[in-house]
Each structure stands twice: as C-alpha cells, then as structure tokens.
Amino acid sequence: MENFTPLSATIGGVLIGLATTLLWVVNGRTAGISNIAGGVYPLRAGDTLWRVVFLIGLPIGALVGFNLGPSILPEIPRTLPEIVMTPVALVASGLLVGIGTRVGRGCTSGHGICGLSRLSPRSFVAVGTFMATAMVTVFVVRHVVG
C-alpha cells in the first residue's frame, strides 16, 4: 500500500465535511455536486447564482490545496494529476455519470458524504450500488480487458 495516504485523506475529508456543514447552516442546501451542477440549467431566478459561485470555488480551492498541500504534509505529491484517457472515453464516462447521478439523485458527495451523515437508508443503498459497479468496472478495465 505504498500510495496509501491516510492523514491527508482524513484531513481532506474533514474539510469537505466542514464545507458541507457551512452550505447547510447558512444556505440550507445540501452539498451534492451532481445536484448543484445539474441544477444550473435551466436558469431560475434566485437558484442559479449560488450554484455557479460554489462551482467556481471548487477549482480555486483545488489550486490552493495543490500549491499549499505538499508543504503542509510531505505525503501529498507535488506533481499534477495526469489524465490518460481518450476524449471519447471521457465523454462516454461523463454521459454515464450525468445520467446516473440524475436518475439516482446523487453522487459521491450527495449520497456518499451528506446522505451517509444523515444516516439515510437510500444513500446507503446508493453508495453500496455505485461502489459495487465502479469496482466491477475497474476490475474489467484493468484486469480483464487491460
């Protein structure tokens, strides 16, 4: 388990939990990214701008975390993540993620962090299901086809 980074993972998770708490306490909204992004269009007065502002915050935060992380914790790599996928595969994956999160009403943040925090039985079922199909997919791609 040479790539296992429990400390930075837990700290990152705690920050995500704090971000989720802030959005809930101040705005009364759930920080499910698929819902926030999927609700941007069609535009609705009073319900679009906060979504856009939150989504703009994500890459800003990622940039800050990427630059500050390695000096706080040596286990965080200084290298940028690499995307090694063909455009066709990225589009196919994006379509599946978009359709699936809309039909199943949530993703890793909405069901995974918020739903599990609320001990929602629906979210436990959703997380178990998407973890299972994602693990099978990676198994097939890495060990059967690859």
């Binding site: 388990m1 790539n3 296992f4 930075s8 993972a9 837990t10 990152g12 998770g13 705690v14 920050l15 995500i16 939990g17 704090l18 708490t21 802030l22 959005l23 306490v25 101040v26 992004a37 999927g38 939150f54 994500l58 890459p59 935060g61 940039l63 800050v64 975390g65 990427f66 706080i72 940028l80 993540p81 995307i83 090694v84 996928m85 990225l90 589009v91 994956s93 994006g94 599946l96 993620v97 978009g98 699936g100 999160t101 199943g104 949530g106 993703c107 890793t108 962090i113 918020c114 925090s117 929602s120 629906r122 079922v125 959703a126 199909t133 994602a134 693990m135 997919t137 198994f139 890495r142």
Partner: protein, 157 residues
C-alpha cells in the same frame, strides 16, 4: 451584509474549502480513485484505501454538522432548509447509482473532482464535465416527458 450577499459568500467559501479538501486528499487524481476501486489489488498490497478515509472524515464532521438545523429556526441566510431526503428506496435510485458507478469506474472521475480539476489539470477534463451536464439535462428531460405522458394517460382514462 444582506442575506443574499451572505448566502453567495457562503457558497463561494464552501466551494473553495471543498476544493481544498479534494486537492489535499488527492481526490483530484482519477488514478488514485481507480487505485481505491481496484479491490483485486488487495492481495498484492497495491490497494489504496485513502478514499474510504476521505469519506470517513467527511461523514464524521457531517454527522454533527448536518444536524445543526435542529437548533436553528431557519438557515442563517435562506428562508428554509431544503432537504434532499427522499424516503423510498426505489428502482431509479438503484439503476441510477449503478449507471453512475459504471461511468465513475471508467474514468475515475465523479462530479466534484472533475469540476475541481477544471483549469488545474492539463487535458480534456472539460469534455467530461460537458458530457456530464448534457447527460444530467437529458435524463431530466426524459423524466419530465414520461411524467407528462403518465399524467396524460391518467386523464384519458
């Protein structure tokens, strides 16, 4: 500060902190996500359980944080708490989650990290995000359309 400005500021700070968390945990790296999902690597010792610790840390805070509404009459800058809790475990939940998992496993991208990687990671992440928005919109349109059909059928009978 008026309420709408406060709510926008909170949304921005929440997004930024969320993004910092994703980057520190390296959830911005689809390879690391796949290393978690690759359970076949457990026997050889190549498995990376980090993602479970991210969820654990998030849920630990959320268990307390998402219960703070009990002490508040309303959110600090909004008229009411909008809960996304639905009661029933139905077929769309399971089918949708299964489709999402398939897409997630293919690329190692889920919505949060993909948006966070925009502008940070060189490459075609924007293609994933665009396709995701189109997929979500399209599925929403189909759901809307079948609701209208159903309503029309009920009226016809």
């Amino acid at each position: 500060m008026n309420r709408s400005l406060l709510s926008l500021a909170a949304a921005l700070v929440s997004g930024v902190v969320f993004g910092i968390g994703l980057a520190l945990a390296r959830m911005t790296d689809p390879q690391k996500i796949k290393d978690f999902l690759d359970v076949a690597a457990i026997p050889s010792g190549g498995w990376d359980p980090s993602l479970a610790f991210v969820m654990g840390g998030g849920v630990l805070v959320g268990l307390a944080g998402l219960r703070l509404d009990r002490w508040l009459r309303a959110p600090l800058a909004a008229p009411k708490f909008i809960s996304t809790n639905h009661a029933r475990i139905d077929r769309p939940l399971v089918v949708g989650a299964a489709i999402f998992g398939l897409g997630w496993g293919l690329s190692g991208f889920c919505p949060g990290p993909a948006v966070a990687d925009l502008g940070l990671v060189p490459g075609d992440v924007f293609l994933f995000v665009l396709a995701m928005l189109v997929g979500s919109w399209g599925a929403g349109q189909v759901a809307e359309w079948s609701r209208i059909q159903e309503a029309a059928n009920v009226t016809a009978m």
